[in-house]
Structures are given as structure tokens and as C-alpha cells.
């Protein structure tokens, strides 16, 4: 899906977090990497229509992101979001978390929504967990439910905001495995991530954001093998320091 960013900038209370970001590419799987505070999550929220940029234009799939609230809600419904902490609704069971948006937003019947939710839960290894509330699930299970909710309406693209940052290492692997499987089935996604192995091997392309600017961007294999900018070299060098 084509994503076009033109001079995108964003400021929180006068503090710029993004400035002059340009991007124009056909995205199937894209990792956004970079140091904390580099504007990665902000950029993802702008692309997802959760935040309006203070500057620039964003076109997704050939159409500019709408500004009017009702149209924005319809736009967001075509995407699937997964947040760092999952963003599951605390007051709903795992099954309802998946089924409610299917009914309320996508117009599925009660039975069809339930069937789709149970099907996804089973597929993601969560059989029998449908009646549990998020607080009763492990971090990895919560994240898999969140991914199930995101893919349930068959969105055009998934937007993942550090989906494994809040997880213990063993859960990180189960979530990353799941995302790789989805990718192999042709699911498109943009993922903000600190997992460099995932960015390098499971994402076709990678964008490196540093200090609110897009410092580098290209095919993952190339960018990781031959980082051009000193910022990226320094960033990757730091990560390698403690790797096994």
C-alpha cells in the first residue's frame, strides 16, 4: 500500500517531535526504528489517523487522511492497531474485545462476530481463554488478543506500536512469531519496534527516525548491512554492545 508523507511535522506544546518527514513508498512490511523520543510513535499515530500532524500532508493508499471526525473514524476502521500495552478494553472479555468492534463498527451479526473471534483465538493459541478479562491473561496472551482484535476485520494494514516492549523475553518471541506468520500470509504492517532482529529479518523495509527526522530509509537487508548515516551506525553499535 502506498504511503506518502510530505513535509510532515508535529509539535507538542511548541516542542517539535517530528520535522520535515518525507516518505513515498509502497509498503508491505515496514519497521520504524530509532532512539526513544525520536518521534516514532507520533509518526505511527499520524499515519493511523489518531493524531493530526501540525504540518504537512499524509496520503495513504492514494487518499489524503480525512480531517472530519466521522470520516476519520471510518478511516481508522480500515486499519488495525496494536499498542504497547495492547490497549484491550479492561471491562470486556477477550472474546468481546474482538467481537464488539466487529459488530459495532463493521456491522457483523452477533453470531458471525462471535464465530470470527473464537476462530482467531483458537488460531492464536488462546482456545478456552475467550471468557477471561485482560487482567486475567499473561502479557503475551494479552498482546495476542490485541493482534487478533486488530486483524479480525481484515484491515488494509496493521499499525503496531512497540508491540513487545512491555513483555518478558519469552512472550516477546511468541508475539514476534505470530507477526511473522501473519506477514507470510500477506498481512501488511508498519511496526515501531526495538527488536532489531525482527526489523531486519521480518520486515521488508526499515525507516530510521532520529531527533524527529527520517535519517535513513530503505530495504532492511541493505540498511542494516550498510548503514549510511553516522546516527544509525552509532544506534546499531550501541545495541550490539550487549548482544550475544
Amino acid at each position: 500500500m502506498r504511503i506518502e508523507l510530505e513535509g510532515v511535522g508535529h509539535a507538542f506544546g511548541g516542542e517539535p517531535v517530528l520535522a520535515g518527514v518525507d516518505f513515498d513508498d509502497d509498503v508491505s512490511t515496514l519497521a520504524i526504528i530509532g532512539p526513544s523520543g525520536g518521534g516514532k510513535s507520533t509518526l505511527l499515530r499520524i499515519v493511523g489517523g489518531l493524531m493530526a500532524p501540525t504540518e504537512g500532508t499524509v496520503r495513504v493508499g492514494g487518499a489524503e487522511i480525512p480531517r472530519e471526525e466521522a470520516a476519520l473514524a471510518r478511516y481508522r476502521a480500515t486499519l488495525g492497531f496494536v499498542f504497547q500495552d495492547g490497549g484491550l478494553f479492561h471491562h470486556l472479555t477477550a472474546r468481546e474485545n474482538i467481537a464488539l468492534p466487529l459488530r459495532a463498527v463493521h456491522g457483523l451479526s452477533e453470531g458471525a462476530a462471535r464465530e470470527r473471534a473464537d476462530g482467531l483465538l483458537a488460531r492464536f493459541g488462546l482456545e478456552g481463554e475467550g471468557d477471561k478479562y485482560p487482567a486475567q491473561l499473561s502479557g503475551g496472551q494479552r498482546q495476542r488478543v490485541a493482534i487478533a482484535r486488530a486483524v479480525a476485520p481484515r484491515p488494509r494494514m496493521l499499525l503496531l506500536d512497540e508491540p513487545t516492549s512491555a513483555l518478558d523475553p519469552e512472550y516477546t518471541t511468541e508475539v514476534l512469531d505470530l507477526l511473522r506468520d501473519l506477514k507470510d500470509e500477506g498481512t501488511r504492517f508498519i511496526a515501531v519496534t526495538h527488536e532489531m532482529g525482527f526489523a531486519r529479518h521480518a520486515c521488508d523495509k526499515v525507516a530510521f527516525l532520529s531527533g524527529g527526522r527520517m535519517a535513513e530509509c530503505g530495504p532492511s537487508a541493505e540498511v542494516f548491512a550498510h548503514p549510511r548515516t553516522p546516527e544509525l551506525r552509532r544506534f546499531l553499535g550501541k545495541l550490539l554492545e550487549w548482544s550475544v
Binding site: R74, R76, A77, F83, D85, F89, H90
Partner: protein, 259 residues
């Protein structure tokens, strides 16, 4: 066998343990009062209950009616005030803030006198019952505003963002996420507030609303049975408030999905 008077290490209490300990505690409390009565040389006489049962029943019903009407009205006051305290329009915000501070910072008794004899007289609220419900609602509304404001501020921004992210419209965010989460957080406290309203309504006796307390005071005055009437009075309030507190606890357990 484990100690019948100590909860298990996991906090578990068996029904038999609960009943046994509760009975002992009740017996101790009753024993204390019984002993006090004996030491003070007071003999209780409940003979008046049969004689005045119609009036007592009327008073009880009126107390319930006033409390129920005040609960509804105080919700209608408290919820907008809670929202108003977060308003970007500053006079609205400070008005709501001042209202909550004035009401919570002054005794209900003073509010009843001041409202009934000054505001009520000036604006023609002569019906004592109506005045009583208004005063009690204004009083309780401030406490409800605090309860609602507390749960409004505990709404997690991540939940609202997730709600927008799944494609909910503004109305759907309210309906499917904000309202259910607010209700489950406020319902236990609101039910507890209802128990407070029931008790606080007893102060309306000072403006001669013939609710339960006023009824009992009149009976006490005509029978000179002060202690008997106040014992029955306290017992009847407990009959009203204990079930409400029980429901409040039930809501609390029922709705604690987050733990």
C-alpha cells in the same frame, strides 16, 4: 485443624468461620449495651411500637421516598458538576469547584436552616418536603460530584485511544467504553452514598418534615420513652442501610474486572 478465628494465609475465610466470628462479635456488642443498660438502671419498653405502628410505617416510607428522590436529583446535580469541574470555561469550572467546597465544608444542619429559612422563604419554597428533598440533593450532589470526578480522572487515556483506534465514533466511544467503565467504578461508591442519604435525611426533622426521625421524636415526646424510641429508630435505619451496604459490596466484587 486451623485456628477458626484467623483467616487463611491466602486471605480465605470459610463460611463457618465467618458465621462463628460474626456471631461472637454481635454477641459482644449486644452484651456491652445490655450491660450498659443494666448499669445505668434503664429498663427498655417497646410497647409503643404496636400502638404507633401506622405512624412509624408512614415515617419509614417517607424517609425512603425522600432518600430515593434525593438520590435521583443528586445524581442529576453531581454528574454535570463533576464534568463541569474539568470544563475549559473557567467560570463554570470554578463555580462547580466552589459548590463542592462550600457544601462539603459546612454541616448539613447549617445548610438546612440557611436554605429553608432564607433561600426557601425568599424564593417561595414553602413545602417542607420539597425543600427537604432539594436541600438533601444539593448536599449529596457535591459528594456524588467527587465520586464521579474521581472515576473520570481514573479513566485511562490508553483506553480512549484504543477505542478510537478500533474505529468507534465519538458516541460509540462513550457508549461502549467510557460509560461502562465509569459505571463499574462509581456504582459501589454511589450505592454507599445512598446509605448516607438515608441517614442524613434524619436531619430534615429540624424543619419538621415528618420522616422517620421526626415521627420517633414525636412519639418519644408523647410517651416519655426516650430510650425505647431511639433504640427502635436506630434499628429501623439499620434495616434500611445494611441491605444497601450489602448491595454496594456486591457491586464492588461483581464489577472488579480490573483485578
Amino acid at each position: 485443624m486451623r485456628n477458626p478465628f484467623v483467616a487463611g494465609p491466602d486471605g480465605r475465610v470459610t463460611p463457618a468461620q465467618a458465621v462463628a466470628s460474626y456471631l461472637i462479635v454481635c454477641a459482644a456488642v449486644i452484651g456491652f449495651f445490655w450491660l450498659s443498660l443494666a448499669m445505668a438502671g434503664i429498663a427498655l419498653d417497646f410497647g409503643f411500637v404496636a400502638r404507633f405502628r401506622q405512624r412509624i410505617a408512614d415515617g419509614l416510607l417517607l424517609t425512603l421516598g425522600i432518600s430515593a428522590a434525593s438520590l435521583v436529583a443528586s445524581l442529576a446535580i453531581g454528574v454535570p458538576v463533576a464534568v463541569g469541574q474539568g470544563s475549559r470555561v473557567l467560570p463554570v469550572r470554578y463555580l462547580c469547584d466552589l459548590y463542592v467546597k462550600l457544601i462539603r465544608g459546612t454541616p448539613l444542619l447549617a445548610q438546612i436552616y440557611l436554605f429553608f429559612y432564607i433561600v426557601g422563604t425568599a424564593w417561595g419554597v414553602e413545602n417542607r418536603l420539597v425543600a427537604g428533598v432539594i436541600i438533601l440533593s444539593v448536599f449529596s450532589g457535591a459528594y456524588i460530584a467527587e465520586i464521579v470526578r474521581g472515576s473520570l480522572s481514573s479513566l485511562d487515556a490508553g483506553q480512549l485511544e484504543a477505542a478510537r483506534a478500533v474505529g468507534f465514533t465519538r458516541a460509540q466511544v462513550l457508549r461502549y467504553v467510557v460509560v461502562p467503565q465509569l459505571v463499574s467504578r462509581t456504582l459501589p461508591a454511589l450505592t454507599g452514598q445512598f446509605a448516607s442519604i438515608v441517614k442524613d435525611s434524619s436531619l430534615l426533622s429540624v424543619i419538621a418534615v415528618i420522616e422517620l426521625t421526626q415521627t420517633m421524636q414525636e412519639i418519644s415526646a408523647s410517651t416519655f420513652n426516650l430510650f425505647g424510641t431511639y433504640f427502635v429508630l436506630a434499628g429501623l435505619y439499620l434495616v434500611l442501610t445494611l441491605p444497601i451496604m450489602f448491595v454496594s459490596r456486591w457491586f464492588e466484587r461483581r464489577l472488579s474486572y480490573a483485578h
